[in-house]
């Protein structure tokens, strides 16, 4: 049994969500965003529940965001740095999951370097699992926080022209955003060098550009992606400086977008590689800090909804 407006046990990806479920979650996140600006930020939606953050891949920002979200809702939050633990001793992902499961957590927040690893783990545990990023597959809370940021900045989340730029092939953020923004009926443009565009892109229902000026023409939203350091030298692009010249977002390239277009970046930024530092700090154009703020609100909403379903399921079982 689950609440009708969000009938999910886990949040593994945007793929499984419907348009109205995304709206439900964003509406709730809006109210948490308001709460987060109050002096007293506490709510009790997760009171008595245990939240474990399992990060098999380094992350400061996402982990902190999930931790603050859980604590503001009254959960007991524990962080496990998985590289340092039994994973090094050769324990398999499934054994780790079963061990943790025996400790009766209620919410498991998982990041893993391999696509599908969070799905695999979710099959083996009794609690709600939130995907905090798996390989190149999905990063649903990032897409949801981006959506909330856009909705608040633009007043709507449909019929916008949105460009996603950079390393789309290796980006889980891009995949989740393509799915979410597509479900909400926006026009999507993907911009990047062919080596950083995923295979089969022609079947995604998006427009593809290799030239920034052309791709950014009259868009409402510019989403930049982080270029991983290990992809910079020769393998996928010739050099950092050529990439910045052709695909780095600066005022000149942004001038092709609508005058009120907003600039987004999931962080952490490589200033001078994919985005000009001054532009990133321009409070009239950049909503990068709002994204971080909305991240906490969206994660509070996601965990709140999953916890409600968890309580309903357990109530039925008992």
């Amino acid at each position: 049994m689950a609440i009708m407006s969000f009938p999910h046990r886990h949040l593994l990806g945007i793929e499984a969500l419907r348009q109205e479920e995304i709206t439900t979650l964003l509406d709730l996140a809006d109210s948490y965003a308001a709460l987060n600006r109050q002096p007293d930020k506490h709510a009790d939606a997760l009171a008595g529940l245990t939240q474990i953050n399992m990060f098999f891949e380094n992350s400061t920002r996402t982990q902190a965001s999930f931790e603050i979200a859980g604590k503001r809702l009254g959960a007991d939050v524990m962080n496990m740095a998985m590289q340092a633990s039994s994973v090094k001793k050769g324990e398999t992902l499934i054994d780790t999951a079963l061990t943790l499961n025996a400790m009766h957590p209620d919410l498991l927040v998982v990041r893993h370097p391999h696509s599908g690893a969070v799905n695999l783990l979710a099959e083996k545990v009794n609690c709600a699992v939130l995907n905090a990023g798996d390989g190149r597959h999905e990063h649903p809370t990032q897409a949801l926080l981006d959506a909330l940021t856009i909705r608040r900045a633009k007043g709507r989340l449909h019929r916008l022209s949105i460009a996603i730029c950079g390393d789309i092939a290796h980006s889980r953020v891009a995949r989740s955003n393509i799915m979410l923004l597509g479900k909400m009926e926006n026009r999507l443009r993907l911009i990047g060098p062919p080596t950083l565009l995923p295979s089969g892109i022609a079947e995604f229902g998006v427009e593809v550009f290799e030239d920034m000026a052309e791709g950014l023409r009259d868009v409402d939203v510019v989403m930049m992606l982080r270029l991983q350091k290990e992809r910079m030298d020769g393998g996928f692009i010739p050099s950092e400086r050529e990439y910045y010249h052709r695909y780095g977002l600066d005022a000149a390239k942004l001038s092709h977008a609508k005058p009120d277009a907003i600039v987004m970046h999931p962080g952490p930024m490589n200033r001078g590689v994919e985005i000009d530092g001054t532009l990133a700090d321009d409070i009239n154009r950049s909503v990068i800090q709002d994204q971080v703020e909305m991240g906490v609100a969206v994660r509070m909403a996601a965990m709140d909804l999953l916890a409600r379903n968890l309580k309903l399921t357990r109530g039925t079982a008992a």
């Binding site: 793929e15 398999t92 992902l93 499934i94 893993h112 391999h114 696509s115 599908g116 690893a117 799905n119 695999l120 798996d134 390989g135 190149r136 597959h137 999905e138 092939a169 889980r172 995949r175 995923p198 295979s199 089969g200 892109i201 079947e203 995604f204």
Partner: protein
């Protein structure tokens, strides 16, 4: 003299174009007479009334992995042999990609001895083409042939040094040895877990273009043209490789090609939510590739269907998709899966048995794989229509990594005979 008579059978004879009703007489392990439909019941010896079920040559499976030596817990000659018997496979052509590789006459003798002791079906081993399958020095091809190696292959490890491969192919040709290649460009396919395309991108899995297979085949064809070697491509799985294969055959090169039963019956989307039992090498292809390959089997362009039986234990498969091992077991699912092609109208029964029995036997110079007089009485009696639900827990293989687990299948083996002796009977 032992005598066995099969009556009232639908005979699937790879040398004919249609299934005919009749019988067979088997004496001392060989087929000695064909009987017409209304033959009188003979009194001497054992008589089996087949009740109009289908009698065909036992499957000759080119490319079975048995995990001895090295990983006997995954599959032994005993377990593989029982699985083969239950699947109607009467001859297993085994792969040398064990640990260590079968690359010396001594290792080959060990394998042959284990097979003879433990397996109820015929086992003919292939040996490695290069020492340790490392792609640097050729193995003792002559000694290995003397010890019983029927073909030479480094399996899925492609020999990247073309000078090494050219010399091995030349040397093998001098001895009349068959070389089995794995057409795949190793650079382009590095790190790939699935076939590239929309599905791979949605799942965030590293993919390889089917072009890597065509590149590998093109390279091998050039070397065959240069060396006149006898060559068999283990698995052709995509449409793009087919024109090259057709041209090579038309040009008179000594080349044959196989494909796997999985690539003929499943496609890339079957991976769904990271189901690792569907992780194969090469990876499953798009539906249009599957259909093109099935058509190539029907036309005879692709000569051989293999199970590419590859046992993996639970631990190797219960991992995130990229980390999980490749391969699937198929000795027992082979015939029922092949019936999917028959029921779908893609390939008829005599053509299937050419690809699953006669052609591989011909390529290896075996008398098996046919119903002609004098052929060994390696036979499978089956019902192509019997439905069942595949339950991997019932498999005889020590490893149970079949992608058909839980699938509805149609077609069951009723009994299997090797040299006239029954090695399997269904409950």
């Amino acid at each position: 003299m032992t005598k066995l008579t099969f009556l009232n059978a639908r005979l699937v004879d790879p040398d004919r174009d249609e299934v005919v009703t009749g019988g067979l007489v088997v004496e001392d392990g060989r087929i000695t007479r064909h009987l017409p439909r209304d033959a009188p019941r003979l009194t001497s010896g054992r008589v089996i009334d087949c009740g109009l079920k289908y009698l065909a040559p036992g499957i000759v499976d080119l490319g079975v992995k048995v995990c001895e030596p090295g990983d006997r817990h995954k599959e032994s000659y005993r377990s593989a042999g029982l699985a083969a018997a239950a699947g109607g496979v009467t001859t297993m052509i085994t792969r040398p990609d064990t640990d260590p590789a079968i690359d010396s006459p001594e290792a080959l003798e060990f394998v042959a001895r284990r097979a003879a002791e433990a397996a109820p079906v015929n086992v003919l081993p292939m040996a490695a083409l290069t020492k340790g399958r490392a792609g640097r020095e050729m193995t003792e091809i002559g000694f290995l042939m003397d010890a019983g190696a029927v073909a030479f292959t480094d399996c899925d490890r492609v020999v990247t040094d073309t000078k090494v491969l050219a010399r091995a192919l030349s040397y093998a040709r001098g001895l009349g040895a068959l070389v089995v290649g794995h057409p795949q460009d190793p650079g382009l396919s590095r790190g790939a877990a699935v076939t590239s395309g929309k599905f791979a991108s949605l799942r965030g899995l590293p993919g390889v273009s089917p072009m890597a297979e065509r590149m590998g085949l093109d390279r091998d064809i050039a070397l065959i043209e240069m060396t006149n070697a006898r060559y068999h491509a283990d698995q052709i799985t995509c449409a793009r490789a087919l024109p090259a294969l057709a041209r090579a055959k038309a040009n008179g090169l000594d080349i044959t090609a196989g494909t796997s039963i999985h690539h003929l019956t499943l496609n890339a989307l079957d991976v769904a939510d990271y189901r690792t039992f569907f992780k194969l090498k090469p990876p499953l292809r798009d539906e249009q590739d599957r259909l093109a390959v099935a058509e190539a089997v029907a036309s005879g362009l692709i000569d051989v269907i293999s199970s590419m039986h590859t046992p993996q234990d639970e631990e190797s498969k219960r991992l995130p998709f990229e980390e999980a091992a490749s391969g699937a077991v198929a000795l027992e699912a082979f015939l029922p899966a092949a019936m999917r092609l028959y029921h779908a109208g893609l390939v008829d029964l005599p053509t299937l048995w050419r690809a699953m029995a006669r052609n591989p036997a011909d390529r290896l110079g075996l008398a098996a794989g046919r119903l002609s007089l004098g052929a060994p009485a390696d036979l499978v009696l089956f019902d192509p229509d019997a439905p069942f639900l595949m339950d991997r827990a019932t498999l005889r293989s020590k490893s149970r990594n079949t992608p058909f687990d839980g699938a509805r299948m149609q077609g069951r083996v009723l009994a299997t005979y090797v040299a006239g002796a029954q090695v399997f009977e269904a409950d």
